[in-house]
Amino acid sequence: MADVLLFIVLIPLLAGLLILALPAQARGIIRAVGLVGALIPACFSFAAYLAFDKQTTDLQFPFTATWMSIANAYNMLTLHINFAFGVDGISMPLVVLVGVISTLTMIRSFKVTERVKSHYFWMLFLTMGLYGVFAAADLFTFFFFLESTLVASYLLIHIWGGEMRHYAATKFLIYRGLASVVLLAGLIGLAYAYATTAQVASSSVLIPNAPNFLTLSISQLLTEAKLIHIPAGTQNVLFLVFLLAVLMEEAFVPFHTWLPDAHEHSDTGTNMMIGGALMKIGLYVLLRFAVSLLPLGLAHYALWLAVFGVISILYGAIVAVASKDWRRLIAFSSISHMGLVLLAIGSMQEIGIQGAVFMLVSSGLLTALLFITVGAQADRTGTFKIENLGGLSKSLPVISGVMLVAALGSVGLPGLSGFISEFSLFVGGFAVFPTLSALATLGMIFAAFYLLWAMQRTTFGPVNTALPVMTDANAVEMVPMVILVALVVLIGVFPGVLGDVVHGTAQAIAARIGG
């Protein structure tokens, strides 16, 4: 069990390499290997979730392997560059989310017929990268895997996307690449700022694992953050750097225009991976580094987070009303939902942080569910344009029904995972920013408006005679839909299955930021 995270990260890569060794014509075997390569780590992540110790807030299942050491890197200190893994209550659920989304995407991707071999290779590569990002316990490890997700998703959009895939992929690459560069600056600055402060403080404070103050280890940085404070001025500057990176990475307004384009021009499987897992990285970065390690910076910019959050909530929701294409609608809807997370993080409340993890998981599941159903109907009708659809309930009752579940989940219907997420975030928001939060509730009304209006034009109404004769969902679509619906209902009805794991860590972070 100790090295479980290592296996989780490595297996998709090994499966990918195995696929490279197979002949391209062996599609069946390639698909099987792809599925198994995603399913095994998913099972491992699920096992780890069950074995997760809810009493401790340390990083669990730790694994460290030193890649290289640079002696005398700074002030006589040695810098160890490690591959290190470990998860706590906020990353554990996201690791399982990657497991769920990647496995289901592999199943859905059975429908891909173009360049199957490389499709599965890059899907597995992306899966590895996503696992690595959320399981990383080291700044270098984190960044390494972040960059591998960038390469893989760029290629997935670029090769398998729709009409304007090259444009969308390039935009995606430039934006996220830029975000990565800014983020790298922040990460390095963070390590050195802690090293400097720790060294100065070492005479008065006993720091475990000393005297090596220059560390990239997240768990050591978290420990140090409990004992020492880097100067407020430095924290503010670093926080701003992180905030800039997160705004681009998570597609917050006004840095958002790459996301609707990416979603509109990607294939369904890629959209499931991007919307379901990749788009959780930005806010995870905010929680993991900026919030946990720069509490004074957070306090300084809390109002900014709230304001940026509310802008994204309203802007995303209003543009979604006018969206003509289902995929753009989902993209703007997700921008709007993530804005709420930003608002709640700005509130610095424990419940807001818990709600943030809930929303990341919930929106991951619901976005993937929306993409798979919308994609399933488009495979049959040949269009994502809302105005060209109508009356699908008649010919596609199952797909339409699941689509309605996904839409209602996004609207925040109780009994589904979206509600408790939204509710927790709003409780956090109202505790500190009542006026801004009241403004943000308009997003709830808009969400009902754009989603139900789109549903009315898609599945309700008389049968659109221009559409071909269609058959309802097949097994490759059924399995992912059923599993996603089951998880959304499970979290909605028994939020404790997620909350129990998140609670301790959220409490610890809140204690650190004084919420």
Partner: protein, 636 residues
């Protein structure tokens, strides 16, 4: 029996799951049997529960932990109070009858099983709402009944009107729900709990200045407002939720359109139960409203205005279901009026009698629609001969609605009017009295157009079999006699609902006012008879009324007004922002890209596709950034 209370909502849930699992494989008979049995057992348990609380008073909540939530823990559970027990009984009783009626009404529908699934899910949610022990759980069920309503209004999804109406119902009530949502959060932030008992005890302490706001240590609320403002604000926000659900002015517009759903749905959800949830919410949160006179006055005014406003629209509608729908809006207004003036018992009494006689009117209308396949009043007539049971029961319902003694509506409506008068709300009393006059006119207009005169259609009308007539007969008896549960001679309900001393006001009977309202009802019937029964002078009158007639027939142009001042601006804003997003925000991004491209043209030969070159450039770039970072980190 108290120990079995949880079964009452759970049984329909089980029925839902069973029907969901078996789908179309089950016969209509089996589907109906399972569903009716589930609610019938619930009804029997509810009777036991009512007997138990009648004897012992309210029981303590039974709760289970649900989720660790900051410093608190969220719980789920149920609580049997006298109010809850009464609601349990009303909901299970009406549900049982409607479930039975639906068998015949929905016979042969392709999605018969789906219909009963949704109905069962609805009844589960409604019963959950009724017996919940905390506000968050109430909100959860509140939303679930809303979504069931959405699904059932849009049940005939292929009808464009039904699709639009379902969406409209969801969105308009959603506006109210957001108010309730904020209200609940503010109550939590002020008191540190969602539990009714805890919230009420805090209110009690606030009133005697023994406690301050912000039980969880949040000061943002305290900085914004003092305790009294907080009480008023939360009460008003909770009321906004009630306004949406109970279709009060100005959020009433969804309910008449919701008549696109199958008629049993209209009877159960949009007359007897869900729409009354708003009134129930105000009753459940009565201590909050008592603590703020501003909030209670608002409730009373909205209720009174809605009562007369909706009744005035009901006078001219052509569609039989829409007349009854506006009647429901109007009657819910009476209940709100009662709550607002503090007449807690009268409001709940009217909720109960209304549930019976309005479900009856809808089911009778359903029986007529089932027989004729039309909802247009001017295509009916003379049905007294063909459908004697429907006729007799509809008449009982109409008399009850018009407030003619000794029918059920008389006692409850009169209680409300007396309390309004006694508490000094003379204008609202006048509104109520005029609304009562309108009520008698519009419902007897329906009666005369449907049942008297000669039949104008071509289809041969007939009764729908015992599954339809039995519920009509039971409800007919209830509409006739249910009022005797709370007469001035034997105020049984009044005693039942106030086990721990008086709640709100409960003024003594005023025989003068009683006579006035009975006479007003009779005058209304008389006018309806002269216009539509014997006289046939309706067209002439309509012409003479001119503008007023148009105003009523077009529902005061409220829908048009909302389309103009809300929907149009929102859609225009969305289109505008979408344009702004595409051409300004993204345009700027692309402009920067273009500039970069033009600059890059001169360097394009350096972009030779060699990964090594890219790597080198990247490495330099990273090194530069690392230097900046080191500078920030205070290293260099």
């Amino acid at each position: 029996m108290i120990g079995l209370t949880w079964l009452v909502p759970v049984l329909p849930l089980i029925a839902y799951v069973v029907l969901l699992a078996t789908g179309k494989r089950m016969s209509e008979m089996a589907i109906t049997a399972i569903s009716v049995l589930a609610v019938l057992i619930g009804l029997i348990i509810s009777i036991g529960v009512v007997a138990a609380v009648g004897q012992h008073g309210p029981y303590a909540p039974v709760v289970y932990n649900w989720l660790a939530f900051g410093q608190t823990t969220l719980t789920m559970g149920y609580q049997v109070t006298n109010l809850n027990a009464m609601m349990l009984l009303v909901v299970t009783l009406v549900s049982t009858l409607v479930f039975l009626f639906s068998k015949s009404y929905m016979h042969g529908d392709e999605r018969f099983s789906r219909f009963y699934q949704y109905l069962n899910l609805f009844v589960f949610s409604m019963l959950g709402l009724v017996i919940t022990s905390n506000l968050l759980e109430l909100y959860i069920f509140w939303e679930l009944v809303g979504v069931c309503s959405y699904l059932l209004v849009g049940f005939w999804y292929f009808k464009p009107e039904a699709a639009v109406a379902a969406k409209k119902a969801f969105i308009v009530t959603r506006i109210g729900d957001v108010g309730l949502f904020i209200g609940i959060i503010l109550l939590y932030l002020g008191t540190g709990s969602f539990d009714f008992t805890v919230v009420f005890s805090h209110l009690h302490h606030f009133a005697s200045a023994q406690a301050s706001l912000g039980a969880l240590g949040h000061d943002a609320i305290t900085r914004l407002m003092n305790v009294q403002t907080w009480v008023t604000l939360t009460a008003l926000l909770v009321f906004v939720g009630a306004v949406g659900k109970s279709a009060q002015f100005p959020l009433h517009v969804w309910l008449p359109d919701a008549m696109e759903g199958p008629t049993p749905v209209s009877a159960l959800i949009h007359a007897a139960t869900m729409v009354a949830a708003g009134v129930y919410l105000v009753a459940r949160m009565f201590p909050l409203f008592e603590a703020s006179s501003t909030a209670s006055e608002t409730v009373a005014i909205i209720g009174g205005v809605t009562a007369i406003f909706a009744a005035s629209i009901g006078l001219t509608q052509r569609d039989i279901k829409r007349v009854i729908a506006y009647s429901t809006v109007s009657q819910l207004g009476y209940m709100m009026l009662a709550m607002g003036v503090g007449a807690y018992v009268s409001g709940m009494f009217h909720l109960m009698t209304h549930a019976f006689f309005k479900a009856l009117l809808f089911l009778a209308a359903g029986s007529v629609i089932h027989a004729l396949d039309t909802q247009d009043l001017f295509e009916m007539g003379g049905l007294r001969k063909y459908m004697p049971i429907t006729h007799a029961t509809f008449l009982a319902g109409a008399l009850a609605l018009s407030g003619i003694p000794p029918f059920a509506g008389f006692w409850s409506k009169d209680d409300i009017l007396t309390a309004t008068f006694d508490s000094g709300h003379y204008v609202l009393y006048a509104f109520g009295l005029i609304a009562a006059f309108f009520t008698a006119v519009y419902i007897f207009r329906v009666y005369f157009l449907t049942f008297s005169g000669t039949y104008k259609g071509s289809k041969h009308p007939h009764e729908g079999g015992w599954v339809m007539t039995l519920p009509l007969l039971v409800l007919g008896l209830l509409a006739t006699f249910a009022g005797f549960i709370n007469t001035p001679f034997a105020p049984i309900l009044s005693r039942f609902l106030q086990p721990n001393g008086p709640v709100g006001i409960d003024p003594p009977a005023n025989w003068g006012l009683m006579a006035v309202s009975a006479v007003v009802g009779l005058l209304g019937i008389g006018l309806a008879y002269s216009l539509y029964g014997g006289g046939k002078r309706a067209d002439a009158w309509a012409k003479r009324m001119g503008f007023l007639y148009a105003l009523s027939y077009n529902k005061w142009y409220i829908d048009e007004l909302y389309a103009l001042i809300i929907v149009l601006p929102v859609v225009t804003l969305a289109e505008g922002l979408q344009f702004f997003d595409r051409w300004i925000v993204d345009g700027l991004v692309r402009l920067i890209g273009e500039v970069g491209y033009t600059g890059g043209v001169s360097l394009k030969y350096s972009a030779d596709g060699q990964i090594q070159t890219y790597g080198l450039v990247t490495a330099f770039g990273l090194a530069a950034l690392a230097l900046v970072a080191l500078r920030i980190g205070g290293v260099l």
